[in-house]
């Protein structure tokens, strides 16, 4: 096992993770607690982007409805909390169960379609979830729901203080990164990537690509649901607006800006997205314009996203 990373991009990513690990300490030294909030939100979105990347980047399944899972996760915290159930394990279990089931049922239908149809049907299902929560008057409908207390876990796992919540999020992020790394390098991942390039060939090799893709879709949904659960705890206010279709569009933006189909791409893409959002919105209220132009430029000129630019520094044989 090698200790030092071999490539420029790997060095950057390792440094980035180390920085994230000590970030709360840095922010307390420079006395800027606000940045911890910003970073927490960024890392939650990064988990969501990583989950989207699993189906979009590796699997070639372009979902325009992934924000639905963020909403589902958030409401799996919000609705029990509304009835004064604050047990964290209950919230987590519910999130995994509901987002997994939703992904299983909708995925079974969506994955019968391809290309444009897949994009549109994932969008349709997320709109259904959106409108369901909009019309649930009991839980605030359009106006959303306030969560008064965070999910309760045993003392050593508590997420009550901002720093504790940050490390919760950071840990989930690390687990997700590790899990996805193992997944895509296992046979499972090879089949998923293989069926993106040539599904017929994978089928003639004897793989039931539909089942593999469906499993991948469910895994992705569950991870995104957990991101939603964290977001619910973090914002302590949830509303159907979290799962509007433009949110799903932003998630795709984060994945592609970082580099779709790469392990760390979505993480740096999300970091760049959140940073730019914060930075640009301080300069001008018209920051969406710059965002939109960047997005267009990214597609027209910037192939491979940030990961692509970083690995341009790696020597030829080291590129994965």
């Amino acid at each position: 096992m090698r200790i030092l990373p071999r490539t420029v991009s790997a060095t950057v990513y390792t440094g980035f993770l180390v920085l994230l690990a000590i970030a709360p300490w840095i922010f307390s030294v420079i006395d800027e607690p606000f940045y911890l909030d910003l970073l927490s939100r960024g890392l939650i979105l990064a988990v969501a982007a990583l989950s989207l990347n699993l189906i979009l980047g590796y699997g070639g399944m372009v979902s325009l409805g992934h924000a639905a899972y963020i909403g589902i996760g958030a409401y799996c915290v919000g609705i029990p909390a509304y009835y004064d159930f604050y047990n964290g394990w209950l919230h987590l279990g519910l999130t995994v169960l509901v987002s997994g089931l939703f992904a299983l049922v909708t995925g079974a239908i969506c994955l019968r379609t391809k290309g444009v149809y897949f994009i549109m049907i994932t969008l349709a299902f997320s709109q259904m979830v959106y409108f369901t929560f909009v019309s649930l008057e009991e839980y605030g409908g359009d106006d959303g729901l306030v969560i008064y207390l965070r999910s309760e876990f045993p003392t050593w796992l508590s997420m009550d203080s901002p720093v504790a919540l940050y490390y919760w999020i950071f840990t989930v992020l690390l687990i997700t990164l590790f899990f996805i790394h193992r997944l895509v390098h296992a046979r499972f991942g090879r089949v998923i990537v293989g069926s993106r390039f040539n599904e017929d060939r994978m089928q003639s090799l004897g793989y039931s690509t539909y089942r593999y893709r469906l499993s991948c879709y469910v895994i992705s949904g569950v991870i995104c649901g957990i991101a939603g659960m964290l977001l619910g705890n973090f914002t302590s206010f949830i509303s159907p607006e979290m799962m509007g279709w433009t949110r799903s569009g932003e998630l795709i933006f984060m994945v592609v800006m970082g580099g779709a189909g790469t392990l760390f791409g979505p993480l740096v893409g999300t970091a760049a997205f959140v940073f730019l959002e914060e930075f640009l919105s301080r300069i001008t209220i018209y920051w969406h314009l710059i965002f939109g132009l960047m997005l267009i430029a990214l597609v027209l000129f910037g192939k491979g996203g940030i990961h692509g630019w970083l690995s341009a520094f790696d020597s030829e044989e080291e590129r994965g």
Binding site: L56, V62, L64, I109, R112, T113, G115, V116, Y117, I119, M120, I121, L123, A124, F125, Q127, M128, F131, T132, V134, S135, L136, E137, E138, W245, T246, G249, I252, F253, V256, A260, I285, Y286, H288, L289, F291, G292, L293, M294, L295, I296, L298, V299, L300
Partner: protein, 307 residues
């Protein structure tokens, strides 16, 4: 049963259906011929409304507002095709989604910069602002105008597509693009025209609705998703499909919102029906699309000769 209410609701459904058709007919052609997913099609809807509103407030004439609005949306549509969409016809759909999502951000912000964050009301001339009474039934004149204009545009489009040379090329492009190219047709010009006409019709829909709802930022972002549902249900590339699907979806949505709770009360207690009905009626069109995709993925009326 209140028949007057039913007739009013059916007319409202028709109105929504025809607006959807104006959006979806352009979308389905851009989709079917260029294989391009244009999420920003709804931006033309918004831009049309704003240009029209500006001219109306300066000149006081709705007609001149509409004429200027049509010209502007045609030009902007052509510019988007020329500078952006054209480069991406051969890339994958993910790129289309990203670029047009970026365009939505750009257009929404530009409108914000030029016209401010508040909405813009468009006053109606006296003639259109009244009501028409037929027996006991009283209908707002302007709603009828919207329905008539929608039908008129549908008729013009039908004649253009089925009787003219341009229409023949469009139909040919929708069923087999490669063959049209191989026959030596200037495909770039065809694409430019189709894109710009689509944008113009979308803008026209925005101008029609704005006097009722007023022009606002992001007004196209909700309706464009339903327009996509129309395109998928009708069959990608099929104008006829878009027409029927738009009417079906417009009526279904409107009637669902007003009558679904009554229907549900037949089978469940009032309390549950009142909770379930709004959710279900908002979901109705998406359920229709999911069912169509699951059982008839090519849509209800796919263009002739397509796969």
């Amino acid at each position: 049963m209140d028949w007057n209410l039913l007739i009013t609701q059916v007319l409202n459904g028709l109105q929504l259906g025809l607006l959807l058709f104006l959006l979806a007919s352009g979308l389905t052609l851009i989709f079917g011929i260029m294989d391009f997913i244009n999420l920003s099609h709804g931006s033309f809807y918004m831009i049309g409304a704003y240009f029209c509103g500006t001219v109306v407030s300066m000149s006081g004439s709705l007609l001149s507002g509409i004429v200027v609005g049509l010209i502007c949306t045609f030009a902007i549509g052509a510019a988007v095709e020329w500078f952006i969409a054209r480069r991406l016809y051969r890339s994958d759909h993910l790129d289309h989604v990203l670029v047009t999502f970026g365009l939505i951000l750009v257009f929404d912000t530009l409108v914000h910069m030029v016209w401010g964050a508040a909405g813009m009301a468009i006053p109606l001339p006296e003639v259109l602002n009244g009501q028409v009474s037929l027996g006991t039934l009283v209908l707002p004149t302007y709603r009828l105008v919207i329905i008539m204009s929608g039908l008129l545009v549908a008729a013009i489009l039908y004649i253009m597509v089925s009787k003219t040379r341009l229409g023949m090329l469009i139909r040919a492009g929708a069923s087999n693009r490669t063959m049209v190219e191989a026959l030596g047709v200037n495909i770039n010009k065809l694409f430019l025209i189709v894109f710009a006409i689509g944008a113009t019709m979308s803008g026209f829909a925005g101008m029609l609705i704005a006097p009722i709802t007023e022009a606002s930022i992001g007004m196209g972002n909700e309706i464009i998703i339903i327009a996509f549902v129309v395109v998928i249900v009708g069959g990608i590339g099929s104008i006829k499909g878009a027409f029927y699907a738009a009417l079906i979806i417009g009526l279904m949505d409107t009637l669902g919102r007003s009558y679904l709770d009554d229907v549900l009360e037949l089978s469940m207690p009032t309390k549950y029906a009142e909770t379930a009905a709004p959710a279900l009626s908002a979901m109705l069109v998406y359920i229709l699309m999911a069912v169509v995709l699951a059982f008839r993925p090519q849509g209800l009326f796919p263009p002739a000769g397509s796969k």
